[in-house]
Symmetry: C2
Subunit: 318 residues, 2 copies
Amino acid sequence: MEIIENISFDNLDVILKRPGIEAEHLDGTIKNIIQRVMTSGDEALKELTKKFDQVILDDLLVSRQEIEASSLNVSTQQKTAIRKAQANIELFHSRQKKETLKVETMPGVNCWRKSVPIQKVGLYIPGGTAPLFSTVLMLGIPAKIAGCKEIVLCTPPDINGDIHPAILYTAQLVGIDTIIKVGGAQAIAALAYGTESVPRVDKIFGPGNQYVTKAKQMVNLSGTAIDMPAGPSEVAVIADGAADAEFIAADLLSQAEHGEDSQVILISTSHELVTKVNSAMDEQLKLLPRKEVAINCLSNSKAILASDMQEVIAISNA
Amino acid sequence: MEIIENISFDNLDVILKRPGIEAEHLDGTIKNIIQRVMTSGDEALKELTKKFDQVILDDLLVSRQEIEASSLNVSTQQKTAIRKAQANIELFHSRQKKETLKVETMPGVNCWRKSVPIQKVGLYIPGGTAPLFSTVLMLGIPAKIAGCKEIVLCTPPDINGDIHPAILYTAQLVGIDTIIKVGGAQAIAALAYGTESVPRVDKIFGPGNQYVTKAKQMVNLSGTAIDMPAGPSEVAVIADGAADAEFIAADLLSQAEHGEDSQVILISTSHELVTKVNSAMDEQLKLLPRKEVAINCLSNSKAILASDMQEVIAISNA
Protein backbone atom coordinates (compact mmCIF):
# COMPACT_ATOMS: atom_id res chain seq x y z
CA MET A 1 0.00 0.00 0.00
CA GLU A 2 1.45 3.35 -1.04
CA ILE A 3 2.53 5.55 1.88
CA ILE A 4 1.73 9.24 1.47
CA GLU A 5 3.62 11.75 3.56
CA ASN A 6 3.56 15.53 3.89
CA ILE A 7 0.10 15.80 2.44
CA SER A 8 -1.29 19.16 1.46
CA PHE A 9 -4.96 19.88 2.02
CA ASP A 10 -5.09 21.53 -1.41
CA ASN A 11 -4.69 18.31 -3.31
CA LEU A 12 -6.50 16.07 -0.84
CA ASP A 13 -9.24 15.57 -3.43
CA VAL A 14 -6.72 13.93 -5.71
CA ILE A 15 -5.22 11.74 -2.98
CA LEU A 16 -8.65 10.60 -1.77
CA LYS A 17 -10.15 10.05 -5.22
CA ARG A 18 -12.30 6.93 -5.26
CA PRO A 19 -12.00 4.35 -8.00
CA GLY A 20 -14.62 5.26 -10.65
CA ILE A 21 -18.23 4.46 -9.84
CA GLU A 22 -19.67 5.61 -13.18
CA ALA A 23 -20.68 2.75 -15.42
CA GLU A 24 -22.41 4.51 -18.29
CA HIS A 25 -20.93 2.03 -20.77
CA LEU A 26 -23.19 -0.63 -19.22
CA ASP A 27 -26.40 1.30 -19.99
CA GLY A 28 -27.15 -0.51 -23.24
CA THR A 29 -26.38 -4.02 -21.94
CA ILE A 30 -28.48 -3.60 -18.82
CA LYS A 31 -31.37 -1.91 -20.63
CA ASN A 32 -31.45 -4.88 -22.99
CA ILE A 33 -31.52 -7.39 -20.12
CA ILE A 34 -34.33 -5.48 -18.36
CA GLN A 35 -36.32 -5.35 -21.60
CA ARG A 36 -35.94 -9.10 -22.16
CA VAL A 37 -37.16 -9.89 -18.65
CA MET A 38 -40.12 -7.52 -19.02
CA THR A 39 -41.07 -9.14 -22.32
CA SER A 40 -40.40 -12.85 -21.72
CA GLY A 41 -40.44 -13.29 -17.93
CA ASP A 42 -39.17 -16.66 -16.68
CA GLU A 43 -38.09 -17.71 -20.16
CA ALA A 44 -35.71 -14.74 -20.32
CA LEU A 45 -34.45 -15.47 -16.79
CA LYS A 46 -33.63 -19.06 -17.75
CA GLU A 47 -31.85 -17.98 -20.94
CA LEU A 48 -29.81 -15.36 -19.10
CA THR A 49 -28.97 -17.80 -16.30
CA LYS A 50 -27.74 -20.27 -18.90
CA LYS A 51 -25.62 -17.52 -20.44
CA PHE A 52 -24.16 -15.97 -17.30
CA ASP A 53 -24.23 -18.80 -14.74
CA GLN A 54 -23.65 -21.68 -17.19
CA VAL A 55 -26.53 -23.73 -15.90
CA ILE A 56 -29.89 -24.81 -17.34
CA LEU A 57 -32.65 -24.62 -14.73
CA ASP A 58 -36.08 -26.25 -14.85
CA ASP A 59 -37.32 -24.42 -11.78
CA LEU A 60 -36.24 -20.98 -10.71
CA LEU A 61 -37.89 -21.29 -7.32
CA VAL A 62 -35.90 -23.12 -4.65
CA SER A 63 -37.99 -26.11 -3.51
CA ARG A 64 -39.04 -26.91 0.05
CA GLN A 65 -36.88 -30.04 -0.14
CA GLU A 66 -33.80 -28.03 -1.11
CA ILE A 67 -34.37 -25.67 1.82
CA GLU A 68 -34.82 -28.55 4.26
CA ALA A 69 -31.76 -30.40 2.94
CA SER A 70 -29.59 -27.31 3.43
CA SER A 71 -29.55 -27.88 7.18
CA LEU A 72 -27.63 -31.13 6.68
CA ASN A 73 -24.91 -29.40 4.71
CA VAL A 74 -24.04 -26.68 7.19
CA SER A 75 -21.63 -27.62 9.99
CA THR A 76 -22.78 -27.40 13.60
CA GLN A 77 -20.07 -24.86 14.24
CA GLN A 78 -21.28 -22.65 11.43
CA LYS A 79 -24.91 -23.01 12.54
CA THR A 80 -23.95 -21.86 16.02
CA ALA A 81 -22.14 -18.83 14.58
CA ILE A 82 -25.11 -17.95 12.35
CA ARG A 83 -27.56 -18.23 15.26
CA LYS A 84 -25.37 -16.04 17.45
CA ALA A 85 -25.20 -13.39 14.73
CA GLN A 86 -28.95 -13.68 14.27
CA ALA A 87 -29.56 -13.02 17.97
CA ASN A 88 -27.24 -9.99 17.98
CA ILE A 89 -28.72 -8.47 14.84
CA GLU A 90 -32.25 -9.05 16.12
CA LEU A 91 -31.44 -7.39 19.42
CA PHE A 92 -29.91 -4.37 17.69
CA HIS A 93 -32.68 -3.78 15.17
CA SER A 94 -35.56 -4.51 17.53
CA ARG A 95 -34.43 -1.48 19.56
CA GLN A 96 -34.88 0.74 16.50
CA LYS A 97 -38.65 0.43 16.62
CA LYS A 98 -39.96 3.90 17.33
CA GLU A 99 -43.10 5.03 19.04
CA THR A 100 -45.17 7.35 16.87
CA LEU A 101 -44.76 10.76 18.47
CA LYS A 102 -47.67 13.19 18.09
CA VAL A 103 -46.98 16.92 18.22
CA GLU A 104 -49.81 19.40 18.69
CA THR A 105 -48.47 22.34 16.68
CA MET A 106 -51.60 24.47 17.21
CA PRO A 107 -54.68 23.76 19.31
CA GLY A 108 -56.37 20.75 17.71
CA VAL A 109 -53.72 20.29 15.01
CA ASN A 110 -51.88 17.03 15.66
CA CYS A 111 -48.95 16.09 13.46
CA TRP A 112 -46.95 12.89 13.44
CA ARG A 113 -44.67 10.67 11.41
CA LYS A 114 -45.52 7.01 11.38
CA SER A 115 -43.38 4.19 10.02
CA VAL A 116 -45.26 1.44 8.23
CA PRO A 117 -43.72 -1.71 6.75
CA ILE A 118 -43.16 -1.91 3.01
CA GLN A 119 -45.45 -4.74 1.92
CA LYS A 120 -43.25 -6.51 -0.62
CA VAL A 121 -39.45 -6.33 -0.51
CA GLY A 122 -36.79 -8.01 -2.60
CA LEU A 123 -33.40 -8.97 -1.19
CA TYR A 124 -30.49 -9.48 -3.55
CA ILE A 125 -27.76 -11.77 -2.21
CA PRO A 126 -24.65 -11.98 -4.38
CA GLY A 127 -23.34 -15.43 -5.23
CA GLY A 128 -19.95 -16.17 -6.63
CA THR A 129 -16.91 -16.95 -4.57
CA ALA A 130 -18.22 -15.93 -1.14
CA PRO A 131 -21.72 -16.93 0.02
CA LEU A 132 -22.99 -13.81 1.79
CA PHE A 133 -25.27 -15.39 4.38
CA SER A 134 -24.33 -12.43 6.59
CA THR A 135 -26.26 -10.25 4.14
CA VAL A 136 -29.28 -12.56 4.44
CA LEU A 137 -29.24 -11.85 8.18
CA MET A 138 -28.62 -8.12 7.87
CA LEU A 139 -31.38 -7.55 5.30
CA GLY A 140 -33.86 -10.25 6.30
CA ILE A 141 -34.02 -9.59 10.04
CA PRO A 142 -34.92 -5.86 9.80
CA ALA A 143 -37.54 -6.71 7.13
CA LYS A 144 -39.11 -9.26 9.48
CA ILE A 145 -38.98 -6.88 12.47
CA ALA A 146 -40.53 -4.10 10.39
CA GLY A 147 -43.35 -6.46 9.43
CA CYS A 148 -42.89 -6.71 5.64
CA LYS A 149 -45.51 -9.18 4.43
CA GLU A 150 -43.66 -10.67 1.49
CA ILE A 151 -39.89 -11.11 1.35
CA VAL A 152 -38.39 -12.42 -1.89
CA LEU A 153 -34.74 -13.42 -2.00
CA CYS A 154 -32.84 -13.65 -5.29
CA THR A 155 -29.38 -15.18 -5.51
CA PRO A 156 -27.52 -16.74 -8.44
CA PRO A 157 -27.17 -20.54 -8.67
CA ASP A 158 -23.82 -22.28 -8.96
CA ILE A 159 -22.83 -24.33 -11.99
CA ASN A 160 -24.88 -27.28 -10.69
CA GLY A 161 -27.98 -25.14 -10.26
CA ASP A 162 -27.66 -25.09 -6.48
CA ILE A 163 -27.63 -22.32 -3.90
CA HIS A 164 -24.98 -22.48 -1.17
CA PRO A 165 -26.51 -24.34 1.80
CA ALA A 166 -25.47 -21.63 4.27
CA ILE A 167 -27.63 -19.13 2.35
CA LEU A 168 -30.64 -21.46 2.32
CA TYR A 169 -30.16 -22.39 5.98
CA THR A 170 -29.94 -18.72 6.99
CA ALA A 171 -32.94 -17.72 4.88
CA GLN A 172 -35.24 -20.33 6.46
CA LEU A 173 -33.89 -19.41 9.91
CA VAL A 174 -34.90 -15.79 9.34
CA GLY A 175 -38.26 -16.90 7.90
CA ILE A 176 -37.81 -16.21 4.19
CA ASP A 177 -39.70 -18.77 2.10
CA THR A 178 -39.48 -17.42 -1.43
CA ILE A 179 -35.96 -17.95 -2.72
CA ILE A 180 -35.29 -17.61 -6.43
CA LYS A 181 -32.27 -18.94 -8.31
CA VAL A 182 -31.44 -15.88 -10.34
CA GLY A 183 -28.66 -13.32 -10.13
CA GLY A 184 -27.28 -10.27 -11.89
CA ALA A 185 -29.23 -7.53 -13.64
CA GLN A 186 -31.90 -10.10 -14.61
CA ALA A 187 -32.71 -10.69 -10.92
CA ILE A 188 -33.20 -6.97 -10.35
CA ALA A 189 -35.43 -6.69 -13.44
CA ALA A 190 -37.50 -9.66 -12.24
CA LEU A 191 -38.00 -8.12 -8.79
CA ALA A 192 -38.94 -4.75 -10.30
CA TYR A 193 -41.40 -5.99 -12.90
CA GLY A 194 -42.34 -9.51 -11.79
CA THR A 195 -42.30 -12.74 -13.80
CA GLU A 196 -44.24 -16.01 -13.52
CA SER A 197 -41.92 -17.19 -10.70
CA VAL A 198 -40.74 -13.90 -9.21
CA PRO A 199 -43.23 -11.65 -7.41
CA ARG A 200 -42.90 -7.94 -8.19
CA VAL A 201 -41.69 -6.01 -5.13
CA ASP A 202 -41.91 -2.40 -3.99
CA LYS A 203 -38.30 -1.98 -2.87
CA ILE A 204 -35.06 -3.82 -3.61
CA PHE A 205 -32.23 -4.13 -1.09
CA GLY A 206 -28.77 -5.59 -1.19
CA PRO A 207 -25.26 -5.34 -2.56
CA GLY A 208 -24.05 -6.51 -5.93
CA ASN A 209 -21.49 -6.04 -8.65
CA GLN A 210 -21.58 -3.21 -11.19
CA TYR A 211 -24.27 -4.94 -13.30
CA VAL A 212 -26.57 -5.35 -10.32
CA THR A 213 -25.92 -1.78 -9.18
CA LYS A 214 -26.59 -0.35 -12.63
CA ALA A 215 -29.81 -2.38 -12.92
CA LYS A 216 -30.95 -1.11 -9.50
CA GLN A 217 -30.32 2.47 -10.61
CA MET A 218 -32.25 1.90 -13.82
CA VAL A 219 -35.36 0.30 -12.30
CA ASN A 220 -35.27 3.06 -9.69
CA LEU A 221 -35.82 5.61 -12.48
CA SER A 222 -39.09 3.84 -13.34
CA GLY A 223 -40.61 3.73 -9.89
CA THR A 224 -39.15 0.78 -7.95
CA ALA A 225 -37.46 1.97 -4.77
CA ILE A 226 -33.92 0.83 -3.94
CA ASP A 227 -31.87 1.02 -0.76
CA MET A 228 -28.90 2.64 -2.46
CA PRO A 229 -26.47 1.97 -5.27
CA ALA A 230 -23.99 -0.19 -3.33
CA GLY A 231 -20.66 1.05 -4.55
CA PRO A 232 -17.31 -0.67 -4.23
CA SER A 233 -16.38 -1.61 -0.65
CA GLU A 234 -14.43 0.93 1.34
CA VAL A 235 -12.91 1.19 4.76
CA ALA A 236 -10.86 3.86 6.51
CA VAL A 237 -8.87 2.98 9.63
CA ILE A 238 -7.54 5.65 11.98
CA ALA A 239 -4.69 4.51 14.19
CA ASP A 240 -1.95 5.99 16.35
CA GLY A 241 1.37 4.35 17.25
CA ALA A 242 -0.19 2.26 20.04
CA ALA A 243 -2.50 0.28 17.71
CA ASP A 244 -2.05 -3.41 16.87
CA ALA A 245 -0.69 -3.66 13.31
CA GLU A 246 -1.93 -7.26 12.88
CA PHE A 247 -5.53 -6.27 13.61
CA ILE A 248 -5.38 -3.27 11.29
CA ALA A 249 -3.93 -5.37 8.49
CA ALA A 250 -6.76 -7.91 8.90
CA ASP A 251 -9.41 -5.15 8.91
CA LEU A 252 -8.00 -3.57 5.76
CA LEU A 253 -7.72 -6.93 3.95
CA SER A 254 -11.28 -7.89 4.93
CA GLN A 255 -12.56 -5.11 2.68
CA ALA A 256 -9.73 -5.20 0.12
CA GLU A 257 -10.70 -8.76 -0.79
CA HIS A 258 -14.24 -7.65 -1.75
CA GLY A 259 -13.29 -6.51 -5.21
CA GLU A 260 -10.56 -5.06 -7.35
CA ASP A 261 -12.37 -1.73 -7.31
CA SER A 262 -12.48 -1.62 -3.50
CA GLN A 263 -10.45 1.01 -1.68
CA VAL A 264 -8.96 0.87 1.79
CA ILE A 265 -7.35 3.81 3.57
CA LEU A 266 -5.18 3.93 6.68
CA ILE A 267 -4.65 7.30 8.36
CA SER A 268 -2.04 7.44 11.05
CA THR A 269 0.32 9.68 12.96
CA SER A 270 2.96 6.96 13.20
CA HIS A 271 5.31 6.06 10.37
CA GLU A 272 6.41 3.02 12.32
CA LEU A 273 2.85 1.71 12.59
CA VAL A 274 2.19 2.19 8.88
CA THR A 275 5.31 0.21 8.01
CA LYS A 276 4.29 -2.55 10.41
CA VAL A 277 0.80 -2.72 8.89
CA ASN A 278 2.28 -3.05 5.42
CA SER A 279 4.48 -5.93 6.57
CA ALA A 280 1.58 -7.60 8.38
CA MET A 281 -0.54 -7.35 5.23
CA ASP A 282 2.23 -8.99 3.20
CA GLU A 283 2.28 -11.90 5.67
CA GLN A 284 -1.50 -12.26 5.89
CA LEU A 285 -1.91 -12.02 2.12
CA LYS A 286 0.06 -15.26 1.73
CA LEU A 287 -2.73 -17.14 3.50
CA LEU A 288 -5.67 -15.31 1.87
CA PRO A 289 -7.72 -17.40 -0.59
CA ARG A 290 -8.78 -14.19 -2.38
CA LYS A 291 -5.22 -12.91 -2.54
CA GLU A 292 -5.31 -11.76 -6.18
CA VAL A 293 -8.39 -9.58 -5.64
CA ALA A 294 -6.93 -8.02 -2.51
CA ILE A 295 -3.58 -7.26 -4.17
CA ASN A 296 -5.30 -5.44 -7.01
CA CYS A 297 -7.39 -3.44 -4.56
CA LEU A 298 -4.29 -2.43 -2.62
CA SER A 299 -2.92 -0.71 -5.70
CA ASN A 300 -5.89 1.75 -5.33
CA SER A 301 -5.29 2.07 -1.60
CA LYS A 302 -3.26 4.39 0.55
CA ALA A 303 -1.68 4.83 3.93
CA ILE A 304 -1.70 8.54 4.76
CA LEU A 305 0.60 10.02 7.38
CA ALA A 306 -0.66 13.02 9.32
CA SER A 307 1.21 15.25 11.74
CA ASP A 308 -1.33 15.00 14.57
CA MET A 309 -4.76 13.64 15.48
CA GLN A 310 -6.42 16.93 14.46
CA GLU A 311 -5.10 16.45 10.95
CA VAL A 312 -6.08 12.76 10.97
CA ILE A 313 -9.68 13.76 11.72
CA ALA A 314 -9.69 16.45 9.02
CA ILE A 315 -8.46 13.91 6.44
CA SER A 316 -11.05 11.37 7.54
CA ASN A 317 -13.86 13.93 7.27
CA ALA A 318 -12.68 14.97 3.81
CA MET B 1 -63.30 14.24 -13.01
CA GLU B 2 -64.22 10.84 -14.42
CA ILE B 3 -66.34 8.70 -12.10
CA ILE B 4 -65.42 5.03 -12.05
CA GLU B 5 -67.99 2.55 -10.78
CA ASN B 6 -68.07 -1.23 -10.33
CA ILE B 7 -64.31 -1.47 -10.32
CA SER B 8 -62.65 -4.86 -10.57
CA PHE B 9 -59.49 -5.51 -8.62
CA ASP B 10 -58.04 -7.27 -11.66
CA ASN B 11 -57.69 -4.09 -13.67
CA LEU B 12 -56.98 -1.74 -10.77
CA ASP B 13 -53.43 -1.29 -12.09
CA VAL B 14 -54.87 0.25 -15.25
CA ILE B 15 -57.31 2.50 -13.39
CA LEU B 16 -54.65 3.72 -10.97
CA LYS B 17 -51.92 4.20 -13.59
CA ARG B 18 -49.94 7.33 -12.88
CA PRO B 19 -49.15 9.85 -15.61
CA GLY B 20 -45.72 8.88 -16.99
CA ILE B 21 -42.70 9.79 -14.89
CA GLU B 22 -40.08 8.55 -17.35
CA ALA B 23 -38.24 11.35 -19.09
CA GLU B 24 -35.56 9.53 -21.00
CA HIS B 25 -35.93 11.91 -23.94
CA LEU B 26 -34.44 14.65 -21.72
CA ASP B 27 -31.21 12.69 -21.11
CA GLY B 28 -29.24 14.43 -23.87
CA THR B 29 -30.43 17.96 -23.06
CA ILE B 30 -29.70 17.65 -19.37
CA LYS B 31 -26.35 15.93 -19.87
CA ASN B 32 -25.35 18.82 -22.09
CA ILE B 33 -26.38 21.43 -19.48
CA ILE B 34 -24.48 19.59 -16.73
CA GLN B 35 -21.40 19.37 -18.94
CA ARG B 36 -21.50 23.10 -19.72
CA VAL B 37 -21.74 24.00 -16.04
CA MET B 38 -18.88 21.64 -15.15
CA THR B 39 -16.70 23.17 -17.87
CA SER B 40 -17.54 26.88 -17.70
CA GLY B 41 -18.98 27.46 -14.20
CA ASP B 42 -20.61 30.85 -13.65
CA GLU B 43 -20.24 31.79 -17.31
CA ALA B 44 -22.40 28.78 -18.28
CA LEU B 45 -24.92 29.61 -15.55
CA LYS B 46 -25.29 33.16 -16.87
CA GLU B 47 -25.69 31.98 -20.46
CA LEU B 48 -28.30 29.40 -19.47
CA THR B 49 -30.15 31.92 -17.29
CA LYS B 50 -30.26 34.29 -20.25
CA LYS B 51 -31.63 31.49 -22.41
CA PHE B 52 -34.20 30.02 -20.02
CA ASP B 53 -35.12 32.93 -17.71
CA GLN B 54 -34.68 35.72 -20.30
CA VAL B 55 -32.52 37.85 -18.05
CA ILE B 56 -28.86 38.90 -18.12
CA LEU B 57 -27.32 38.81 -14.65
CA ASP B 58 -24.10 40.46 -13.46
CA ASP B 59 -24.16 38.73 -10.10
CA LEU B 60 -25.60 35.32 -9.43
CA LEU B 61 -25.38 35.76 -5.67
CA VAL B 62 -28.25 37.67 -4.04
CA SER B 63 -26.74 40.69 -2.26
CA ARG B 64 -27.16 41.58 1.39
CA GLN B 65 -29.07 44.71 0.27
CA GLU B 66 -31.53 42.66 -1.73
CA ILE B 67 -32.15 40.39 1.25
CA GLU B 68 -32.67 43.36 3.58
CA ALA B 69 -34.96 45.14 1.12
CA SER B 70 -37.18 42.06 0.81
CA SER B 71 -38.67 42.73 4.22
CA LEU B 72 -40.22 45.97 2.91
CA ASN B 73 -41.99 44.17 0.10
CA VAL B 74 -43.76 41.51 2.14
CA SER B 75 -47.05 42.51 3.74
CA THR B 76 -47.41 42.42 7.52
CA GLN B 77 -50.17 39.88 7.14
CA GLN B 78 -47.98 37.60 5.09
CA LYS B 79 -45.07 38.01 7.50
CA THR B 80 -47.31 36.96 10.38
CA ALA B 81 -48.42 33.87 8.46
CA ILE B 82 -44.83 32.94 7.59
CA ARG B 83 -43.69 33.35 11.20
CA LYS B 84 -46.57 31.23 12.43
CA ALA B 85 -45.69 28.48 9.95
CA GLN B 86 -42.05 28.77 10.98
CA ALA B 87 -42.95 28.23 14.64
CA ASN B 88 -45.10 25.18 13.85
CA ILE B 89 -42.52 23.57 11.57
CA GLU B 90 -39.77 24.21 14.11
CA LEU B 91 -41.82 22.64 16.89
CA PHE B 92 -42.57 19.57 14.79
CA HIS B 93 -39.04 18.92 13.56
CA SER B 94 -37.29 19.73 16.83
CA ARG B 95 -39.15 16.76 18.35
CA GLN B 96 -37.56 14.45 15.77
CA LYS B 97 -34.12 14.80 17.33
CA LYS B 98 -33.23 11.36 18.59
CA GLU B 99 -30.99 10.28 21.41
CA THR B 100 -28.25 7.91 20.28
CA LEU B 101 -29.28 4.54 21.70
CA LYS B 102 -26.46 2.12 22.53
CA VAL B 103 -27.17 -1.60 22.49
CA GLU B 104 -24.75 -4.05 24.11
CA THR B 105 -25.21 -7.06 21.82
CA MET B 106 -22.55 -9.14 23.58
CA PRO B 107 -20.52 -8.36 26.70
CA GLY B 108 -18.34 -5.40 25.81
CA VAL B 109 -19.72 -5.02 22.26
CA ASN B 110 -21.65 -1.76 22.06
CA CYS B 111 -23.49 -0.91 18.85
CA TRP B 112 -25.30 2.28 17.98
CA ARG B 113 -26.62 4.42 15.16
CA LYS B 114 -25.79 8.09 15.35
CA SER B 115 -27.24 10.86 13.20
CA VAL B 116 -24.77 13.56 12.19
CA PRO B 117 -25.60 16.66 10.16
CA ILE B 118 -24.66 16.74 6.49
CA GLN B 119 -22.11 19.53 6.28
CA LYS B 120 -23.14 21.23 3.04
CA VAL B 121 -26.67 21.03 1.68
CA GLY B 122 -28.31 22.63 -1.34
CA LEU B 123 -31.98 23.61 -1.38
CA TYR B 124 -33.74 24.02 -4.70
CA ILE B 125 -36.76 26.33 -4.61
CA PRO B 126 -38.78 26.47 -7.82
CA GLY B 127 -39.66 29.86 -9.23
CA GLY B 128 -42.25 30.51 -11.84
CA THR B 129 -45.85 31.33 -11.17
CA ALA B 130 -45.96 30.44 -7.46
CA PRO B 131 -43.17 31.52 -5.07
CA LEU B 132 -42.71 28.45 -2.86
CA PHE B 133 -41.60 30.15 0.36
CA SER B 134 -43.34 27.24 2.14
CA THR B 135 -40.62 25.00 0.71
CA VAL B 136 -37.95 27.35 2.08
CA LEU B 137 -39.43 26.75 5.53
CA MET B 138 -39.90 23.03 5.12
CA LEU B 139 -36.38 22.38 3.85
CA GLY B 140 -34.46 25.14 5.65
CA ILE B 141 -35.77 24.58 9.17
CA PRO B 142 -34.87 20.86 9.41
CA ALA B 143 -31.42 21.63 7.95
CA LYS B 144 -30.87 24.25 10.66
CA ILE B 145 -32.17 21.98 13.43
CA ALA B 146 -29.93 19.14 12.20
CA GLY B 147 -26.95 21.50 12.34
CA CYS B 148 -25.91 21.63 8.68
CA LYS B 149 -22.99 24.06 8.50
CA GLU B 150 -23.54 25.45 5.01
CA ILE B 151 -26.96 25.86 3.41
CA VAL B 152 -27.07 27.05 -0.20
CA LEU B 153 -30.39 28.04 -1.74
CA CYS B 154 -30.87 28.15 -5.52
CA THR B 155 -33.98 29.64 -7.11
CA PRO B 156 -34.53 31.10 -10.58
CA PRO B 157 -34.75 34.89 -11.05
CA ASP B 158 -37.71 36.58 -12.67
CA ILE B 159 -37.42 38.53 -15.93
CA ASN B 160 -36.04 41.54 -14.01
CA GLY B 161 -33.36 39.44 -12.36
CA ASP B 162 -35.14 39.51 -9.00
CA ILE B 163 -36.16 36.82 -6.54
CA HIS B 164 -39.67 37.03 -5.07
CA PRO B 165 -39.40 39.02 -1.79
CA ALA B 166 -41.33 36.37 0.17
CA ILE B 167 -38.63 33.83 -0.68
CA LEU B 168 -35.83 36.19 0.38
CA TYR B 169 -37.68 37.22 3.54
CA THR B 170 -38.30 33.58 4.51
CA ALA B 171 -34.71 32.54 3.74
CA GLN B 172 -33.21 35.20 6.03
CA LEU B 173 -35.79 34.39 8.71
CA VAL B 174 -34.65 30.75 8.69
CA GLY B 175 -30.99 31.84 8.63
CA ILE B 176 -29.96 31.04 5.06
CA ASP B 177 -27.40 33.54 3.79
CA THR B 178 -26.23 32.07 0.51
CA ILE B 179 -28.95 32.56 -2.08
CA ILE B 180 -28.14 32.09 -5.75
CA LYS B 181 -30.19 33.34 -8.70
CA VAL B 182 -30.20 30.21 -10.78
CA GLY B 183 -32.85 27.64 -11.58
CA GLY B 184 -33.46 24.53 -13.64
CA ALA B 185 -31.00 21.75 -14.42
CA GLN B 186 -28.17 24.30 -14.36
CA ALA B 187 -28.82 25.01 -10.66
CA ILE B 188 -28.62 21.30 -9.84
CA ALA B 189 -25.37 20.96 -11.81
CA ALA B 190 -23.91 23.99 -9.99
CA LEU B 191 -24.80 22.54 -6.56
CA ALA B 192 -23.37 19.14 -7.51
CA TYR B 193 -20.07 20.32 -8.98
CA GLY B 194 -19.62 23.86 -7.70
CA THR B 195 -18.86 27.05 -9.65
CA GLU B 196 -17.17 30.35 -8.76
CA SER B 197 -20.40 31.58 -7.09
CA VAL B 198 -22.07 28.34 -6.07
CA PRO B 199 -20.48 26.16 -3.36
CA ARG B 200 -20.49 22.43 -4.11
CA VAL B 201 -22.81 20.59 -1.69
CA ASP B 202 -23.08 17.00 -0.46
CA LYS B 203 -26.84 16.58 -0.82
CA ILE B 204 -29.53 18.40 -2.80
CA PHE B 205 -33.12 18.77 -1.59
CA GLY B 206 -36.26 20.20 -3.08
CA PRO B 207 -38.97 19.87 -5.69
CA GLY B 208 -38.78 20.93 -9.31
CA ASN B 209 -40.08 20.35 -12.80
CA GLN B 210 -39.02 17.44 -14.99
CA TYR B 211 -35.72 19.13 -15.96
CA VAL B 212 -34.75 19.66 -12.33
CA THR B 213 -35.81 16.12 -11.42
CA LYS B 214 -33.87 14.59 -14.30
CA ALA B 215 -30.78 16.63 -13.38
CA LYS B 216 -31.06 15.47 -9.76
CA GLN B 217 -31.23 11.85 -10.89
CA MET B 218 -28.20 12.35 -13.14
CA VAL B 219 -25.91 14.01 -10.58
CA ASN B 220 -27.02 11.33 -8.11
CA LEU B 221 -25.44 8.70 -10.39
CA SER B 222 -22.10 10.46 -9.98
CA GLY B 223 -22.04 10.69 -6.21
CA THR B 224 -24.12 13.69 -5.08
CA ALA B 225 -26.92 12.58 -2.77
CA ILE B 226 -30.49 13.73 -3.42
CA ASP B 227 -33.61 13.63 -1.27
CA MET B 228 -35.70 11.93 -3.95
CA PRO B 229 -36.84 12.49 -7.49
CA ALA B 230 -39.87 14.67 -6.74
CA GLY B 231 -42.46 13.36 -9.11
CA PRO B 232 -45.68 15.04 -10.19
CA SER B 233 -47.95 16.09 -7.29
CA GLU B 234 -50.51 13.56 -6.14
CA VAL B 235 -53.26 13.38 -3.58
CA ALA B 236 -55.80 10.71 -2.69
CA VAL B 237 -58.85 11.65 -0.62
CA ILE B 238 -61.00 9.03 1.11
CA ALA B 239 -64.50 10.19 2.01
CA ASP B 240 -67.83 8.73 2.99
CA GLY B 241 -71.25 10.36 2.47
CA ALA B 242 -70.91 12.55 5.57
CA ALA B 243 -67.90 14.49 4.26
CA ASP B 244 -67.97 18.15 3.20
CA ALA B 245 -67.83 18.26 -0.62
CA GLU B 246 -66.53 21.87 -0.65
CA PHE B 247 -63.49 20.97 1.46
CA ILE B 248 -62.73 17.89 -0.63
CA ALA B 249 -62.98 19.90 -3.87
CA ALA B 250 -60.55 22.48 -2.45
CA ASP B 251 -58.09 19.78 -1.32
CA LEU B 252 -58.16 18.09 -4.72
CA LEU B 253 -57.72 21.38 -6.60
CA SER B 254 -54.83 22.45 -4.34
CA GLN B 255 -52.77 19.62 -5.83
CA ALA B 256 -54.38 19.58 -9.30
CA GLU B 257 -53.14 23.13 -9.85
CA HIS B 258 -49.51 22.05 -9.33
CA GLY B 259 -49.04 20.78 -12.87
CA GLU B 260 -50.72 19.23 -15.83
CA ASP B 261 -49.04 15.93 -14.98
CA SER B 262 -50.42 15.94 -11.43
CA GLN B 263 -53.01 13.34 -10.49
CA VAL B 264 -55.72 13.54 -7.85
CA ILE B 265 -57.89 10.62 -6.76
CA LEU B 266 -61.11 10.57 -4.74
CA ILE B 267 -62.24 7.24 -3.31
CA SER B 268 -65.71 7.16 -1.83
CA THR B 269 -68.61 4.92 -0.90
CA SER B 270 -71.14 7.63 -1.81
CA HIS B 271 -72.20 8.39 -5.35
CA GLU B 272 -73.98 11.48 -4.08
CA LEU B 273 -70.81 12.85 -2.49
CA VAL B 274 -68.76 12.26 -5.63
CA THR B 275 -71.30 14.17 -7.70
CA LYS B 276 -71.30 17.02 -5.17
CA VAL B 277 -67.49 17.18 -5.24
CA ASN B 278 -67.49 17.38 -9.03
CA SER B 279 -69.99 20.28 -8.91
CA ALA B 280 -68.04 22.03 -6.16
CA MET B 281 -64.86 21.74 -8.23
CA ASP B 282 -66.61 23.27 -11.23
CA GLU B 283 -67.62 26.25 -9.07
CA GLN B 284 -64.22 26.67 -7.40
CA LEU B 285 -62.38 26.32 -10.70
CA LYS B 286 -64.03 29.53 -11.93
CA LEU B 287 -62.15 31.49 -9.27
CA LEU B 288 -58.83 29.66 -9.57
CA PRO B 289 -55.97 31.71 -11.08
CA ARG B 290 -54.31 28.48 -12.22
CA LYS B 291 -57.50 27.14 -13.72
CA GLU B 292 -56.00 25.89 -17.00
CA VAL B 293 -53.39 23.77 -15.26
CA ALA B 294 -55.96 22.28 -12.90
CA ILE B 295 -58.39 21.44 -15.69
CA ASN B 296 -55.70 19.55 -17.59
CA CYS B 297 -54.72 17.66 -14.45
CA LEU B 298 -58.34 16.66 -13.83
CA SER B 299 -58.38 14.84 -17.16
CA ASN B 300 -55.79 12.43 -15.59
CA SER B 301 -57.78 12.21 -12.38
CA LYS B 302 -60.49 9.91 -11.12
CA ALA B 303 -63.27 9.54 -8.60
CA ILE B 304 -63.56 5.86 -7.72
CA LEU B 305 -66.71 4.43 -6.15
CA ALA B 306 -66.30 1.50 -3.79
CA SER B 307 -68.96 -0.70 -2.20
CA ASP B 308 -67.72 -0.33 1.38
CA MET B 309 -64.90 1.11 3.49
CA GLN B 310 -62.99 -2.19 3.33
CA GLU B 311 -62.84 -1.82 -0.45
CA VAL B 312 -61.93 1.89 -0.16
CA ILE B 313 -58.92 0.96 1.95
CA ALA B 314 -57.86 -1.81 -0.45
CA ILE B 315 -58.00 0.65 -3.37
CA SER B 316 -56.05 3.25 -1.43
CA ASN B 317 -53.34 0.73 -0.51
CA ALA B 318 -53.07 -0.42 -4.14
